[in-house]
Amino acid sequence: MKKTYLIKYVFLLFFALSTATVFAQTSVVSGKVVDETNQPLPGASVSVKGTQKSTGTDANGNFRLTGVSNGAVTLHVTFVGYQVAEKTVNVSGNVTVNFGLQPNSKDLNEVVVIGYGTQKKKDLTGSITNVTAKDFNTGDITSPEELIQGKVAGVSIVSNSGAPGAPITITIRGGASVNGSSAPLIVIDGTPLSNDGIAGVENPLDMINPNDIASFSILKDASAAAIYGNRASNGVIIITTKKGQAGRPVINFSTQVSLGTLPKEAPVLSPSQFRAYITANDTTASHQYINLLGSANTDWQKQIYQTSLSEKNLSNADNLSISGTAGKLPYRISVGFDKQNGILKTTDLQRYSTGINLSPSLFTDHLKINFSFLGSQVQQRFANEGGVISDAVDFNPTLPVYSGNSNFGGYYELLDPSAADGLKSLAPLNPVGLLYENDNRSTVYRAISSLNLDYKFHFFPDLHAGVNFAYDGSNQQGFNIIPAYAASSYPGSPDANGVDQTGSRSKYKTVVGNKTFDATLNYAHDFTSIKSSVTALLGYSQQDFSNTAYNFLSYFGNGEVTPNSVATLAEYPYSTNAYDLTSVYGRLIYNYDDKYLLTASLRSDVSTKFAPGIRTGNFPAIALAWVLSHEDFLKGNTVLTNLKLRLEYGVTGNQDGIGDYDYLSDYSLSNSTARYPFGNTFYEGYRPGGLYPGRTWEQTATANAGLDFGFLNDRISGTLDVYSRKTSKLLFDIPQPAGANFVNQIVGNVGNMQDKGIELNLNGKVIDTKDITWNVGLNGTLNRNKITNLSQIFNPDEAPVLTGGISGGTGNTIQIYKLGDAKGTFYVYQQVYGTNGKPLDGVFVDQNGDGIINNQDLITEHNANPQEYFGINSDFRYRKWNVGFSARADLGNYVYDNVASSTGIQRNFLNPLGIINNGDSNVLQSGLTGNGSNDLLSDYYLYNASFFRMDNAHIGYNFGKVFGKTGDLKISANVQNVFVITKYPGVDPEVAGGIDNNFYPRPRTYVLGLNLTL
């Protein structure tokens, strides 16, 4: 209460003084900035309000401002993750002012990065979550998004597998699109990244060293994101990298070593169980299957995963950064090295990275320059994951790894003497051979750099002009070698002389270059007489995206060139895909008396992915906020200290997920293995492309109501958001009337989809004393998705679109897009169970009662997306010790166990191909044969895969000063993927897309880390 008055008073005083008085004499103001534990805060920014004077604290937290005008001045101190502090002092002669900053990630004065600008948290009108370095997840963080996994309501971050550098699926509020991309737009230091993949890099963000990141801003609703219009429908994540601070250089060194272990094997029969099962079930007179049992006992999964402690499952990461100010040039330079060994043998990733940030101010701070460069080289080795992992489940466990002879590299394979190549057709291959007889490596270079100039007009300081040039380029090259003796390369294909050759050596290369240019004008003015402040933005943006893939000759194992690659290379040596976006945008922020806030924005985008004439999308947004805690009726309330109500509406667009030239309907030539003969000549064929010239922007309209609240001076704070989102002109792959087009399905603007949800973020400082602090964060999200129309003209009987391909047989799908159901809904036969609770083999519910079980008896059941998901994190500090954890839970997400459905059936063990395979141990409980054609689509294999996962548990000790006055040393120990509680029987319940098929398990990782600051 008193504080509020004080601040207001200070403000008034400051305005009065700064506008009215001119002083001639100056003095030096110096002091020290420390944190809540009395540790110095290097890099805090100290400025004299109302002037251009500013400096930063050095490594010991000291600052010194020269030439400060005498009289009453207000000193303003900011540091990322800490509350802003201000002190007014009367300067007459040199004075010393010390500051003790209080940490508070929810500080209302915290500066939050919004699109094309920043805003104080208290002034926000949109649904924006800000996560800064101090709140990042710790441990074995290898990719930037892992820093905020589980931290933000409404944001789901799931790694697709446990492979090093595996792609990570980020969805904000469930994703707004179906065929279009559901990935949010990621902007790094003003560079919007392309969502198009880079070949050879599974996760493009993996190219960025997480240690270089200072903060994330997540723009979740349309009013916040609409300023990015064109690609903002799935939300926007703005990443800001660390910058140099004033004062003498600060050197930070961190190193960590981690050990990855396999938490769980896929459940298969042990060799003895396998023998018993085959013996019990082989009813052939000749004991055809029993005769195939061998005498070895091989755990194939142990053969392919790292199980013993060795350097092969140790990973390490080292980072060194130096930051400071050289002359007038604040800088930060970092180098990083990260080596990750996958738990699947042979898979690994090495990243060398560097970050450079220069942020000088010229012309007495009228020109601010920020240059940022992030460069990295990533070397990766991939395995044939799907093949290796599935064959390790399937391969007969009574056979040995090695055959004792030199055929097929010495690996034991299933043979067929009557076959030309000697291998049993369609049988699984030795997984160890498959692993080692495949050398697939890539090297990728990526540079993301931006130059940002911000000029404040000398004659009109309320007006800023800014330009931003950004370039995101990558060059990726790789090769794949399969030796001629590898069983996987048989039967081979003919060379130029018609002789069959095996083995292969092939090469690939992709070059990506994405350019961004932004020009902005910013106007900000406080109209104190009418208690109003206005911020206005006008901008122009140009983005050019280009992706070129090169063709190369490929070779057989013996070095002969393959005829097909000669023909392909002759056609065209490379193919380039490119598109441009041109945009203008404007935004107005109006603040009345810090009580009523209004933000309105409009963006107009032109994309070359659409036909001329229908290229433009207009994306408006408006948001209102009412700060109730500033109203008289809440003033003085010591319990409810902050309360803000927000109402928002906005429209965003999506044009990702469609081809760059799709509207052109150009002709493309077939390749050399798809030719047709006339006489003695084979002709390539010209195929016309599908026609959908009217395709245009997918649009998402979001309405959001939110409440920001803080109790007991923000000891407990949080936000509550309710949203409803409707996507129209959905980019969706729809059937075309046969005969009317050159394709039978095409991505058109068809249909509507809606998402409704509630998000809650809660943060509490449970204990807040000098020696003990305990912070707890909780977040929860409820999201409901529904497809409301899927055809050009609304048709309640429209044919559903099948999706979600599964293994076992050919062409089976397990999911459906259907009117009235959520995306990711499963489409299954309803299993009938016997009185003993076991599924009856091949018996399903005849839904339409016609006496026939066919695809008209399939029903929709459950879906792959969690209905609710939660995050919890806790950090407890006692003096120099701290312990904490972060955990997540998903509820109502269903998983189809494709491993059990395709391998846990009698038909797989006693295989009609005349072989015996291992498979999922579910066969012992279910007894299913798998003989019926509908068995694969039984809902018996559908599991509620709700889970609670402890992502991280950590303990740390802060030694403080280790070299006299300097050298801040911290050590920590982490466990990643600590445990998972679930009823799901497979390897992992968290499967992107909801189909569990040969999942590369997420390792459990033990990490030791050391962090030294000089």
Binding site: S575, T608, D660, G689, G739, P912
Partner: protein, 547 residues
């Protein structure tokens, strides 16, 4: 400030932004049709779309979406629809919708039927585009003249033949598909109109008659392009089944036969027979890797060409050589790297042949059966089918082998070189005989008998031991002889329907209707349903009765 202004201006002016970005790996239709080479490459796509599944062999850039690409092949799907619901074939696989064929309980959302329907209409759409782009006016605008223009006129007639052929496929299987020609603009916002079965019959008939004089004369075109012989052969086949195609399914479920055209069938069969085609001396050589050169090409009137290295896919004869190989069948003898253990035949087919003298593997491929057409594999197979999904229940078929007549493996162990004939001379003999026995004029029973005995003499390796007499020559005998001569070539369903034996309980085979002893099914299953997906996309379409 000046720096910023300069930067803004320079970046705005240096980026003269192009309105239309174009790919370096694709071209416009104007470019394609401006050269004779480009036109022939378009024709290659028109033909190739019933041999290939997409622009990248064997898979990777499919023409048809929503179905496994390997299963979107024309002949494979046509074969599923024509053979699997009959006494000639059973299949072990449980792939979506596949077991429904033999069980005869397919629904209107069967993905294989959708694939076949889409494949046929896809080729029709390509033909329409080809015709739109190669009009005389278009050719004149591109400067295509002289012999090049003469060639284009032949291409156009052949394209129209391919369209007529696919409309015959749709007429036979789906009765009343959507109807589009080069008069219907592609990409039109209005979905295509439908047609009636009788009207479609008339269209195919008139179209074939219209292009007859425009085609290259029989056996005079570049192999394997269509010629006048192919037009006559399709007309003969169309007239043979005219009674079915013009008949109606009544509301009470009964069926009324339409107007038979036996005389017309004889007329066109005669034209083909007189055109110079000849029976190859060896039946064994008809479905081998070199059947485009080993003499079989003189018997084939029109074939789909495949090549192990240049025309790759997972359908066509690659399917015909791989899918029937399993159990103890030695893949080496089939010229392939390994079988797919899928399709077999039933005793209903094998019992039409004389009992083989031996059933051991040394008498490959005929088991020393007097009728050399009995190319079956018995070793390790159970003649009685008790479980359709077990490959070893049922009898193996050796008719397609990716080896040359000299015994060498085809050019690629994974993909077949065998060309698949859509029309062979024996079919014309059989049409002649059947139409004559049914009272058509223009033929004689003596000639019919001679034609049948020509087939049988060839089958019996030049011996007359298998020849029949005039009294043995009945329509039932013709049906059986068609099975013996043409089994697995995609005729059986059409033949059984023409003889009214497809759906009724009066003729059953193992697992007909999904019952081991065999059972009749509803008569409406004589035609397949219009796929649900297309009915949703095209409200003009009406479902066939019963579905």
């Amino acid at each position: 400030m000046l720096l910023i202004a300069a930067l803004i201006v320079s970046s705005l002016t240096s980026c003269k932004r192009k309105l239309v970005l174009t790919p370096n790996y694709e071209v416009t239709s104007q470019q394609v049709y401006s050269t004779p080479a480009g036109i022939k490459e378009s024709l290659a796509k028109v033909y190739g779309s019933f041999a290939l599944t997409g622009n990248s062999g064997p898979a990777g850039s499919p023409d048809i979406d929503g179905i496994d690409e390997g299963t979107s092949d024309f002949f494979r799907l046509f074969w599923y629809a024509q053979e699997l619901p009959t006494d000639e074939a059973v299949i072990a696989w449980g792939d979506p919708g596949v077991p429904d064929f033999h069980a005869m309980d397919w629904s209107s959302s069967n993905v294989n039927l959708l694939g076949l329907y889409d494949r046929s209409l896809y080729q029709i759409t390509l033909v329409n585009e080809f015709l739109i782009q190669t009009t005389d006016a278009q050719m004149a605008s591109h400067g295509i003249t002289g012999q090049d223009l003469v060639n284009v006129h032949y291409y156009r007639a052949e394209a129209r033949f391919l369209r007529a052929f696919q409309y015959w496929v749709l007429l036979d299987l789906f009765a009343k598909p959507p109807f589009v020609t080069d008069a219907t603009p592609v990409g039109s916002v209005l979905p295509p109109q439908t047609t009636s079965r009788a009207a479609l019959f008339s269209y195919v008939e008139s179209e074939l008659k219209a292009i007859d004089p425009l085609m290259v004369p029989p056996m005079k075109n570049e192999y394997p392009r269509a010629d006048e012989g192919a037009v006559w052969a399709l007309l003969a086949r169309l007239y043979l089944n005219a009674g079915v195609y013009t008949g109606t399914l009544n509301a009470d479920g009964s069926y009324t036969t339409g107007t038979v055209r036996w005389t017309d069938a004889i007329t066109y069969a005669n034209k083909v027979i007189a055109a110079g085609y000849s029976l190859n001396s060896s039946y064994d050589n008809l479905f081998l890797a070199d059947n485009n050169t080993n003499g079989a090409q003189n018997e084939n009137i029109f074939a789909i060409a495949y090549d192990g290295n240049n025309t790759q896919g997972y359908g066509g004869t690659t399917f015909m050589t791989h899918a029937p190989v399993g159990g103890s069948m030695p893949s080496l003898s089939y010229g392939i790297s390994g079988g797919w253990a899928g399709v077999r035949t039933t005793s209903s087919l094998t019992s039409l042949f004389p009992a083989p003298k031996t059933q051991n593997t040394t008498n490959f491929p005929n088991n020393a059966d007097a009728d050399t057409r009995a190319e079956f594999w018995y070793d390790g197979q159970n003649t009685t089918i008790s479980n359709i999904t077990s490959f070893t229940d049922g009898i193996g078929v050796n008719k397609w082998r990716n080896v040359t007549s000299a015994g060498a493996q085809g050019s690629n162990p994974s993909f077949s070189d065998i060309d698949e004939p859509l029309f062979r001379l024996p079919e014309m003999y059989l049409i002649y005989a059947e139409a004559t026995l049914n009272g058509g004029t223009g033929g004689s029973t003596a000639t019919a008998l001679a034609y049948i005995n020509a087939l049988r003499t060839r089958a019996y390796n030049g011996s007359v031991a298998g020849n029949i007499t005039n009294t043995q020559l009945t329509t039932q005998f013709i049906l059986d002889e068609r099975a013996r001569e043409l089994y697995w070539e995609g005729f059986r369903r059409t033949d059984l329907i023409r003889y009214n034996l497809f759906t009724p309980g009066t003729y059953v085979w193992p697992f007909k209707g999904g019952v081991q002893a065999g059972t009749g099914v509803a008569v409406y299953r004589n035609v397949y349903p219009i796929p649900d997906q297309d009915r949703a996309a095209n409200p003009n379409l009406k479902q066939n009765p019963g579905y």
